[in-house]
């Protein structure tokens, strides 16, 4: 949007931007700061802006939540595996939708669209008995399969949109040079839509890293992911020990923020062309 630099507009802009920063960033900054505060200082008022940082909350964490580090590892395993699996399924599917017209493809695409609307929480009811019968409860594989299933349709679509951007002429040239369909996909299309592949993988891994509902229902003591352990820490029988919770939250949140920061150009490009384009 473009605007005229009138006085009320400038005030609106600066006040607005300040409010946005405060509303969005303050809670997260407050969390990170509190993780390094001494337990006695956490609820001090006015909140101490300058304080001597201490690692005490992080040192207390293993005693408070013995499985937290294991849960972080579980989260990482699920996030990485689920995104790889989703990409493997979505790349060929997206390619087919981008380049061919077949009745079966249209039916599949429509089916994927329907599936995207389906409320995931509803799946837990029929799946739980089956998963417990085949040993998928308290098994990370259950989460990997479910997260992929929830994201395959969106990612197929993302891949289709990205591959639509790759000119057909390049493929025709490859065909003339003797490339078959498979070679066209792997040698021409994939390298040119690598942004899409990365964006797809990032979406799935962020989702898997922060997902709570399925992890809460389908995991047991060994396989809990970080959000589930955080939830357990937040609902103890006695009082909540905030210090270790902040330490744990920081360990869960900070890595993903760094990851997203490093990869943000891919991410915004993905949102622009994928989720939004009409």
């Amino acid at each position: 949007m473009t605007y005229q630099k009138t006085v009320p507009m400038r005030i609106f802009r600066w006040v607005g931007v300040a409010l946005v920063i405060f509303f969005t960033a303050f809670p997260v900054a407050f969390l990170f700061a509190s993780a390094f505060k001494h337990p006695a200082e956490i609820f001090a008022f006015p909140p101490s802006l300058i304080f001597r940082p201490t690692l005490r909350n992080f040192l207390d964490l293993p005693a408070e939540a013995p499985t937290f580090y294991l849960s972080l590892r579980n989260s990482a395993v699920v996030a990485i595996t689920a995104s790889v699996l989703t990409v493997i399924l979505a790349v060929p599917a997206g390619y087919a939708l981008s380049r061919y017209r077949r009745r079966f493809l249209q039916a599949s695409a429509f089916f994927m669209l329907l599936v995207r609307m389906y409320p995931p929480i509803v799946l837990t009811v029929p799946l739980f008995p089956v998963f417990s019968a085949v040993g998928l409860v308290d098994n990370l594989l259950a989460l990997i399969l479910l997260y992929s299933a929830l994201f395959v349709s969106l990612c197929t679509w993302l891949m289709k949109v990205y591959m639509d951007e790759v000119p057909v002429e390049l493929e025709e040239a490859a065909t003339i040079d003797g490339a078959n369909s498979w070679q066209r996909l792997t040698r021409v299309i994939l390298p040119l839509s690598v942004h899409g592949v990365v964006a797809t993988a990032v979406f799935v891994s962020i989702f898997a890293w922060k997902e709570y509902t399925f992890a809460y229902i389908f995991t047991g003591a060994r396989t809990q992911t970080a959000p589930v352990v955080l939830d357990l820490m937040l609902t103890p029988l006695t009082t909540v020990s905030w210090g270790p919770i902040f330490a744990a939250s920081t360990l869960q949140l900070f890595p993903i923020l760094v990851f997203v920061w490093l990869i943000q150009t891919y991410l915004t490009a993905g949102m622009k062309t994928g989720g939004v384009k009409q």
Binding site: M1, T2, Q4, R13, G16, V20, I21, T24, P27, V28, L31, F43, F45, L89, A93, A96, R99, Y100, R101, R102, F104, L105, S108, A109, F111, M117, P119, I121, V122, L123, T124, V125, P126, V130, L145, L146, S148, V152, D164, V168, E171, R184, W209, K210, E211, Y212, T213, Y216, I217, P227, L230, L234, F246, L253, V260, T268, K272, G275, V276, Q278
Partner: protein, 307 residues
């Protein structure tokens, strides 16, 4: 003669391969979804007409589960709570998303930095969001309650006062979700050609008129998309309310999703829970149906078959 026969045979095989290849490409993804979503969905529908007990055969009970569900005391509460939660959070998310999108869509220094900042809550798990906001609203010790006290107001007792529980639920839900609406509306806003504004300003338009007459009509589709997605995500949401209140105090924040969870995984009434599941599915699809049509058409737009 035989050479020609071989040639024909080969070309037929090639043609078969050519025509089957695209289908083969999409088959794994489709099968995956059939296995993990379509079959479970069918099973849910069947279970909703049965009494399901672990270890025993299902007993057909007709519409009993649905009748019991409608008569269940918690169902009415859960239904209206879900509607209330959905409407308020969608309004909040899309409203704030729109305002922030307008603020950040003009060119200025540090614009990219601010956009990344606004996207931060997108990466925050609901559990962590709840930890942060609960910490700030904690009675006696939370920073917001401290400020309220020092300004002479009463403290917020979110754990016992139902109105304040809802307030906290809505605030933190909007905080987590508004980046999504922001991004959709923002991408639409920055696509509007600059000339439109410039010529309007030459004709003496005010900033408000420029927004009202130029921006708004052009971003209505994006606002609709954002609203429908926000609606779907809010309607199915389980984590926010469950982590914060477990449906309490006294079941007053029960949603359809938490009721479904409670009936299946606390009381092990899978038939009954399936009835709730079917109702939730139908309500979602009723809202989404309109949008799905448009999306399907856009998916198979004018683009011609390549290769």
């Amino acid at each position: 003669m035989s050479g020609r026969f071989t040639y024909d045979w080969n070309s037929r095989l090639t043609r078969l391969w050519r025509s089957g290849f695209p289908n083969l490409l999409i088959l794994p993804a489709t099968l995956f979804l059939v296995l993990f979503i379509l079959l479970p969905a069918i099973r849910t529908l069947i279970m909703s007409f049965h009494e399901v007990t672990h270890g025993l055969d299902d007993v057909f009970v007709g519409f009993d589960n649905y009748v019991r569900m409608v008569r269940h005391r918690a169902f009415t509460t859960a239904f209206w709570n879900t509607m209330f939660f959905t409407l308020t959070t969608v309004l909040g998310e899309v409203g704030i998303g729109l305002v922030v999108a307008v603020l950040l869509s003009t060119r200025f220094r540090a614009q990219r930095l601010l956009i990344s900042l606004v996207m931060v809550p997108y990466a925050v798990s609901e559990v962590v969001a709840i930890i942060i906001w609960r910490y700030m609203f904690e009675p006696r010790v939370g920073i917001i309650n401290f400020m309220l006290t020092s300004l002479g107001f009463e403290q917020i007792q979110w754990a016992t006062q139902i109105n304040q529980t809802w307030m906290l639920i809505i605030i933190l839900r909007v905080w987590v979700q508004y980046p999504f609406s922001f991004l959709i509306i923002y991408s639409s806003l920055i696509g509007i050609p600059k000339d439109l504004y410039e010529s309007a300003f030459i004709d003496g338009a005010t900033n408000w008129q420029a927004f009202h007459r130029i921006s708004l009509p052009l971003i209505v589709p994006a606002i609709n998309v954002a609203s429908i997605f926000a609606f779907m995500f809010a309607f199915r949401n389980f984590a926010t309310v469950w982590i914060l209140t477990r449906g309490g105090p006294m079941g007053q924040t029960e949603l359809l999703s938490t009721m479904l969870y409670r009936q299946s995984f606390r009381h092990w009434r899978f038939g009954f829970a399936s009835a709730i599941a079917v109702v939730m599915t139908l309500l979602t699809f009723a809202i989404a149906a309109y949008y799905m049509r448009g999306m399907f058409h856009s998916m198979f737009g004018q683009r011609k078959e390549g290769v």
